[in-house]
């Protein structure tokens, strides 16, 4: 499944195409339930990142062994930069709507990135293959796992980096078998 490609996040700096989806999620959510069973058959997810509400990186994980890696400092910078870009994109809606969801999808030739921001301001970023469909279902499932195995863990300090074995395990067992 793995092809020799550049690490997706690298091309973020030289951003090739940026599609900014500003409108809030529309009516297509009704068909999501039907699709959940179908999408999972092949799923190539490169990486999962979680940002806390201050823009700090609290979780980072690669799912394909062959990918190039950034240094840990660069990951933090990437997270902080994305947080800023997201804040800007949520302010520039041309319509009169009071609130905008901000940047949700970012596409390039080599990868697609999906961002999901929760009501509390935590952001989930998923990097995947460009052909990958229904990433919003995947991202929601990751959110669910986060709510279960991170937030219900009494040893987790809120807003701090996630070091939870249960979360790692369940994330692996959700993403790995489908690759």
């Amino acid at each position: 499944m793995l092809r020799h490609r550049q690490l997706p996040v690298h091309s973020l700096q030289s951003s090739i195409i940026i599609i900014i989806v500003i409108s809030p999620r529309t009516a297509d959510t009704s068909s999501l339930g039907l699709l959940i069973g179908i999408i999972i058959t092949t799923m190539v997810v490169y990486a999962v990142l979680i940002l806390n509400k201050a823009g700090g990186l609290i979780y980072q994980r690669d799912f394909n062994p062959g990918l190039q890696k950034l240094s840990s400092n660069d990951y933090l910078i990437l997270a902080g930069t994305f947080h800023g870009v997201h804040a800007i994109t949520s302010q520039i809606s041309p319509t009169n709507e009071t609130s905008s969801s901000g940047l949700e999808v970012l596409e390039s030739e080599n990868f697609v990135m999906r961002c999901f921001q929760t009501l509390t301001g935590t952001k989930f970023l998923i990097f995947a293959e460009p052909r990958q469909q229904n990433l919003d279902v995947v991202v929601r499932r990751v959110y669910e796992l986060y709510a279960d195995y991170v937030m219900k863990n009494p040893f987790y300090q809120i807003e701090m980096p996630i070091r939870s074995e249960g979360f790692d395990r369940h994330l692996t067992s959700y993403i790995k078998p489908h690759q």
Binding site: Y149, K152, N153, P154, F155, R163, S164, E165, G166, F167
Partner: protein, 226 residues
């Protein structure tokens, strides 16, 4: 003279219905969370009403997590923390045993043998709390006075990931406390501890090690002789 608004007292006056509700009824209703607006307290309900009812796992996970955090504030080490959780469980176990035997009614039996009481714990008690039986019940080969009950995935540990620096800790100490109380209640004094014993299938497998006091074995030996 006797004016304390104890729950038992108000409950009995409400059921007889001959006397009007006491003057301080409104006061208790507003100040005591145990009373709903209909003045029905948990003491007015039949004890069997909650026999088959289920509890939200998330709600329990949050409550238990909060309990662990609270216990963590006042301890000096992992062992101290486990002891604290064990004590919390002990308080639950004492009350739960009473309820369980009451629910059994006339069929309730007082276990007098070690094997009997261990089976009671791994079957009846476990099913009453977790709606499943404990996964195994074994005897420790090396020691005469030690037994093991194992649970492949304890409910209390579902969402808990213990950090590496506390790897000795197993929050199943709470269940160990419940087991200890039930054993004590049957006059089988013992120490019960929870240990993590993962295998490939079950990373969260927990073993409850039961170590009986010497007098229990002494008594058991006498019974075997008779």
């Amino acid at each position: 003279m006797n004016r304390d608004p104890s729950p038992f007292r108000t409950a009995s006056t409400a059921s007889t219905a001959t006397s009007p509700t006491p003057k301080y009824a409104n006061l208790t209703a507003s100040t005591n969370l145990r009373y709903s607006l209909t003045r029905k307290s948990i003491y007015d309900r039949h004890l069997n009403r909650t026999k088959t009812s289920e509890l939200s796992k998330s709600a329990f996970a949050f409550l238990f997590g909060e309990m662990v955090q609270y216990a963590q504030k006042k301890v000096y080490g992992v062992q101290d923390l486990e002891k604290k959780l064990n004590l919390h469980g002990y308080a639950v176990g004492q009350r739960f045993l009473e309820l369980l035997l009451w629910r059994d009614g006339r069929t309730a039996k007082r276990e007098t043998r070690i094997l009997g009481i261990l089976q009671f714990i791994s079957h009846q008690l476990y099913r009453a709390i977790f709606q499943k039986q404990a996964d195994t019940l074994e005897k420790v080969r090396e020691n005469e006075d030690e037994y093991m009950i194992s649970d492949n995935d304890p409910v209390v540990n579902t969402y808990i990931s213990v950090p590496k620096e506390m790897s000795q800790l197993n929050c199943g100490a709470f269940i160990a406390g419940i087991i200890e109380a039930v054993l004590d209640g049957h006059c089988f004094p013992a120490k019960v501890t929870a240990h993590t014993a993962p295998n490939e299938m079950w990373p969260g497998r927990t073993v409850f090690l039961i170590k009986f006091e010497p007098e229990v074995l002494e008594r058991e030996a006498l019974r075997v002789g008779s």
